[in-house]
């Protein structure tokens, strides 16, 4: 197994804390992702470390008994500590507020507090075995106000801070789950649902264990993940993960089943919208992507692991570790240790070693593990940090050694452009919405976020195509690839940038394939633009028809009439230029001097006569006199005319 093969890794800079031991208790708060190391009940110090803040919070508190649970409210404003089964103690961490502790007892008689969760900086929920109580903390008054409560029998609970949903396990089998949602002082009860338990031997009472349930947000949706150790259907072996979708409104629905094809001890994480399933027995993990195509049986989609199972990349405990580590060489860390505790979405804690890691997905190794390029693209396009990896996949599939077939290349381009088009459409409808109702801008109107999966033409041009055409590949292949990209853009109705067209032209010209170029232009595959027309003009000496193609293009643009006149004059086609400008009705505004200059240069006296006469007639028509005005600077041409044709040839003013 090469170094490149591991696609999961522990983050490089873990949060380190003092190992758990008889005098040091360690707590983890899922909401703030903080680790609390409480020494001697707090008397000899509490150290709080989060993943983002490198400066730990340290404080002391009186040892008033064993700490059962300790958590900061959001933004570290208020500390809550549970020491008994009836009460929770509070302590303000707000400057200018009293730091004296205050206590809240749970309202329900004879109830035991199972735990508590902060839902905001001043709102807290107590979960008791008889229900839940939702409080507002008033730090300045050092008291709490009950906002709402609900009574039901609770076996255990689970909290998902990202979506502010608390899940309560009820009933004897523990498998009826009641979710509550919290938002800005309100508590709403969502429809409860039942988890189907696998059939168990009659002797044992089946029940849903808290350990087999997780909650996580995947692709913006909240899911309840249930690890079913034995499948209900006898013909399938191995455990599976069942995903229940918990919508904001409406009932919970079983949506996906992840087939693990093995049994034993598992743990779940969610990283970058991927469900990671760790298997302790084999010390490997697999990942699932519910957006990838699975087998749909009419109600549920079955998924298999995206990739073969692999261990998390071996991890060395750094030398600059905690003080306890004295040896100089890095110590390999025991992965999949039984002392690991896994939290959602991506946290792995080793309390005995004093580390908190974030689990990460490495995309580069996956490129070689997933041979199906279409599926690989589907996978990569959903990942956060995908841009450079995708670009490298594109470059790779066009390289000499790893060259993919054209249908595969086409599929990859189509997938890129599908994503690109979705973003462009969102951008456009946003722009239209803004334009339509600037004054009454609704809060729903959000500028679309450009994710890394949006690879536009300039990305593909800069990182893939411009380098690709420089390589010594067969020109047939180069052109086929460029045309395939242009075809894909067109298929998604994305306007092709002219630098791509220029790349095509450059490649064709390099290989003297002018007839191909001509045909592409004939069918307007290379869209009209002034830069392109100019490029064609410059090709005339290599390929004479380019001149005609360029003029046609300028004509179609209909905004390039001046350019057409210039082109014709430069070719000494003075009469053609004049006829053209007259044809579009612009002949009253053109400079006589410019045309006379051009006519004189042809050394064709009759042509000069014709042009001169035309402007005399124009002068007559516009000003009532055939003479040129001084502002037109035509004196030298008048003199030239007289010299050749004589004074009497000048047009005489018509007088009535």
């Amino acid at each position: 197994m090469g170094e490149e093969d591991y696609y999961l890794e522990l983050c490089e800079r873990p949060v380190q804390f003092e190992k758990a031991n008889p005098v040091n208790c360690v707590f983890f708060d899922e909401a703030n992702k903080q680790v609390f190391a409480v020494r001697s009940g707090g008397a000899t110090g509490v150290v709080v470390k989060g993943p983002d803040d490198r400066n730990p919070i340290s404080f002391r508190m009186d040892d008033k008994g064993e700490v059962k649970c300790i958590k900061f409210s959001l933004e570290n404003k208020i500390l809550a500590v549970q020491r008994t089964s009836k009460t929770v103690d509070f302590c303000n961490f707000i400057p200018d507020n009293s730091q004296l502790e205050y206590t809240q007892e749970c309202k329900t008689k004879n109830a035991n507090i199972l735990g508590f969760c902060w839902t905001s900086s001043t709102e807290i929920v107590f979960i008791t075995d008889q229900g839940i109580e939702f409080y507002q903390v008033l730090p300045e008054k050092r008291s709490l106000k009950l906002l709402k409560s609900h009574n039901l029998n609770v076996n255990w609970y689970m909290y998902c801070p990202e979506s502010a949903v608390i899940l309560l396990s009820t009933t004897v089998l523990e498998n009826v789950l009641q979710p509550f949602h919290f938002r800005a002082g309100t508590m709403s009860k969502l429809p409860k649902f039942e988890i189907e338990l696998p059939a168990a031997p009659k002797s044992t009472k089946p029940s849903l264990s808290e350990r087999d349930i997780a909650m996580a947000t995947i692709y913006g949706q909240l899911y309840v993940l249930f690890l079913r150790h034995h499948s209900r259907t006898s013909n399938s072996t191995g455990a599976e993960v069942v995903l229940y979708h918990l919508p904001r409104e409406g009932a919970c629905k079983k949506m996906h089943i992840l087939k693990l094809n093995r049994t034993g001890k598992f743990a779940l994480n969610v990283v970058d919208n991927l469900v990671v399933v760790h298997h302790q027995d084999t010390e490997t993990s697999v990942i699932f992507d519910i957006k990838l195509r699975g087998e749909f049986d009419g109600s549920v989609t079955f998924h298999h692991p995206v990739l073969p199972a692999r261990s998390i990349q071996p991890y060395q405990i750094p030398i600059t570790g905690p003080a306890a580590v004295t040896s100089q060489s890095p110590v390999p860390c025991k992965l999949y240790s039984s002392s690991w505790i896994v939290f959602q979405p991506d946290i792995i804690i080793s309390a005995s070693q004093g580390y908190l890691w974030n689990l990460q997905v490495k995309l580069e190794p996956i490129v070689n593990l997933l041979p199906d390029k279409g599926r690989l693209m589907d996978f990569l396009l959903q990942r956060k940090e995908c841009k450079m990896v995708i670009l490298s996949v594109c470059s790779q599939m066009l390289s000499e050694s790893d060259r993919a077939s054209l249908p595969v290349i086409a599929t990859v381009f189509d997938k890129l452009n599908h994503e690109y088009k979705k973003y462009l459409d969102a951008e456009q409808s946003y722009a239209m919405a803004v334009e339509a109702g600037q004054s009454r801008s609704s809060p729903l109107l959000k500028r679309p976020v450009r994710t890394q999966a949006v690879l536009d033409q300039s990305d593909v041009y800069t990182h893939v195509l411009s380098a690709f055409v420089e390589k010594k590949m067969p020109h047939k292949f180069v052109i086929a690839v460029l045309m395939e990209y242009i075809r894909s853009l067109n298929q998604f109705q994305i306007a092709v940038q002219h630098y791509l067209h220029e790349l095509v032209i450059k490649t064709l010209v390099q290989h003297n394939l002018f007839y191909m170029l001509h045909q592409f232009l004939q069918y307007h595959v290379l869209s009209d633009s002034k830069p392109l027309a100019c490029l064609l003009l410059s090709l005339e000496s290599f390929y004479p028809p380019a001149h005609q193609l360029s003029l046609d293009m300028l004509k179609r643009l209909s905004t390039a009439n001046d350019e057409i006149v210039e082109v014709l004059l430069s070719k000494h086609q003075v009469l053609a230029a004049l006829r053209f400008i007259r044809g579009i009705g612009g002949h009253d505004n053109i400079s006589a001097r410019k045309f006379l200059d051009a006519a004189k240069q042809t050394e064709d006296n009759m042509l000069f006569y014709t042009i001169f006469r035309f402007f005399e007639q124009r002068n007559q028509r516009l000003r009532g006199s055939p003479n040129f005005t001084p502002g037109e600077h035509c004196e030298e041409h008048v003199a030239f005319f007289k010299q050749i044709f004589g004074d009497q040839a000048l047009m005489r003013p018509t007088t009535f």
Partner: protein
């Protein structure tokens, strides 16, 4: 043919007249270097039609041509005589390769009148034939020969005079019968290509299809794609495509359409199990792919003869949306290595289904185009357009081509005026416009702008010059508004 032409004439006097169209009198190829001394003259002659002509007469005729060319060369060293006009016939000279001369002698059209005493009087129409038309026909003869045989010089290198003579005999013996000199006109001068108008997306799909096919069948060197006898894509260079197009549209395709039109479905494709239903087949090569003994013989063609001199095999494959329907797309494919039956099966399985799908896409386009143009009422004019730069040609004067004749919908006199205008255009480089009032109510307008030519035939009662000019302007605005075509 002659009788048919006479029968077409009507009126009481016409019955007295018999018309005979121009006809090929002789056609020969010689090289003066091969028999420079007296007594060796016969060696000069490489090919002579008709072969029955007595030897001495052959020698005399060749000698005469040689003399005329030599004589005129003293006046114009770089451009010796191209044709010789006599009362009864015209001779056309062409030197396609150094010292190799091709000569074609065409008899002028004849009108046979009954004199008062009942004796037939023959009148040769000396001014009817257009030099440019028949010179072009002669040049085309060479191009066609070269396409299938390579250059004269190559034959000399390969097997000397003997081989060259054999090749010439084999090729021209058949080819001259297909010349149909009576129906040659302006289009033979142009030797143009009719392009199929197509939207960008469908065009790109075809591109994609061709690129993929050439990738998976790597002996394929070039591909041309046609639909309903119109070209959509050519991977071959322009000059090679021009003559191949001529061959495909006037010889190969018509030969394969006629039996179908006769209602006989060619029993070529037996249902292959597991094969996608499509109506593709080879126009060159094996007739039945299921027959293990099927012969895989493809005509050889020679392209880029000035440059890389490539010898290829011509594979022509055609699909139809429905059997015997008019809508068809053809892919003409040139392969470098001799294609095997196995290759043919592979090609059939790759190209057949995809080509059928593309054909239906194109057909949709075709119907859209037809609906758009069909909404207007029958126009008062007919036109021929030609662009020298891409050889694009469009004619509403000509009906569908058959292998025997190209039918025009206008009077031959008008066609002759078109030819005359074209000759005028050739003389100068400048843009020009010529308007001719023809017999009855016909007007003929010729326009030349840059390297494009447009010929319009109008039929309007009592129209004057200004009105005709306006009509043509209108035509340009509707038909040619996306190109730079000066009014």
């Amino acid at each position: 043919m002659a009788a048919a032409a006479a029968g077409a004439g009507s009126g009481p006097w016409a019955a007295q007249e018999k018309q005979f169209p121009p006809a090929l009198l002789s056609f020969f190829i010689y090289n003066p270097r091969f028999g420079p001394r007296e007594g060796q003259e016969e060696n000069k002659i490489l090919f002579y039609h008709p072969n029955e002509v007595e030897k001495n007469e052959k020698i005399r005729n060749v000698g005469l041509c040689e003399a005329i060319v030599q004589f005129t060369r003293t006046f114009s060293p770089s451009k010796p005589a191209k044709s010789l006009h006599t009362q009864k016939n015209r001779q056309f000279f062409n030197e396609p390769e150094e010292n190799f001369w091709m000569v074609m002698v065409v008899r002028n059209p004849i009108i046979e009148k009954q004199s008062k005493d009942g004796k037939p009087v023959i009148e040769y129409q000396e001014e009817e034939l257009l030099d440019k038309v028949y010179s072009s026909v002669l040049r085309q003869c060479y191009s066609m020969y070269k396409l299938f045989n390579g250059t004269f010089l190559k034959a000399m290198e390969d097997g000397g005079v003997k081989l060259l003579k054999e090749r010439l005999e084999k090729f021209f013996h058949r080819y001259l019968q297909t010349l149909h000199l009576q129906s040659c006109d302006l289009l033979d001068i142009f030797g143009g290509i009719s392009f199929f108008p197509l939207d960008k997306m469908t065009y790109l799909k075809i591109q994609s299809f061709i690129n993929r096919m050439e990738e998976s069948l790597n002996i394929v060197k070039y591909t041309a794609f046609l639909y309903n006898d119109q070209l959509i894509w050519s991977g071959l260079e322009q000059d090679d495509m021009r003559i191949l197009y001529k061959y495909l549209t006037t010889s190969l395709f018509p030969r394969h359409i006629e039996p179908e039109l006769a209602g006989r479905d060619s029993p070529i494709r037996a249902e292959m199990p597991g094969n996608l239903q499509h109506y593709g087949r080879f126009l060159t090569g094996p007739l039945n792919l299921n027959d293990p003994d099927a012969k895989c013989r493809f005509p050889k063609i020679f392209v880029n003869t000035d440059d890389t001199y490539e010898e290829l095999h011509l594979i022509v494959y055609k699909t139809e949306l429905r059997p015997s329907s008019y809508t068809q797309s053809e892919a003409s494919i040139s392969a470098s290595v001799h294609p095997t039956l196995d290759f043919c099966r592979r090609l059939d399985s790759i190209v057949g289904p995809q080509l059928t799908v593309l054909a239906s896409d194109i057909c949709e386009q075709f119907n859209i185009n037809k609906r758009m143009s069909g909404s207007e009422k029958e126009p008062q004019f007919k036109f021929i357009y030609f662009n020298h730069m891409n050889l694009a040609e469009k004619s509403t004067v000509h009906m569908r081509k058959t292998p025997s004749v190209s039918l025009t919908s206008v009077h031959p006199d008008l066609m002759k005026i078109l030819g005359d205008i074209n000759s005028d255009f050739t003389r100068v480089d400048e843009d020009e416009e010529i308007i001719v009032k023809a017999m009855s109510d016909y007007w003929v307008v010729g326009k030349k702008s840059d390297r494009r030519e447009l010929y319009v035939i109008l039929n309007q009662k009592n129209a004057n010059l200004i009105e005709v000019n306006e009509e043509v302007k209108k035509l340009c605005a509707t038909q040619f508004n996306n190109i730079f075509f000066l009014d």
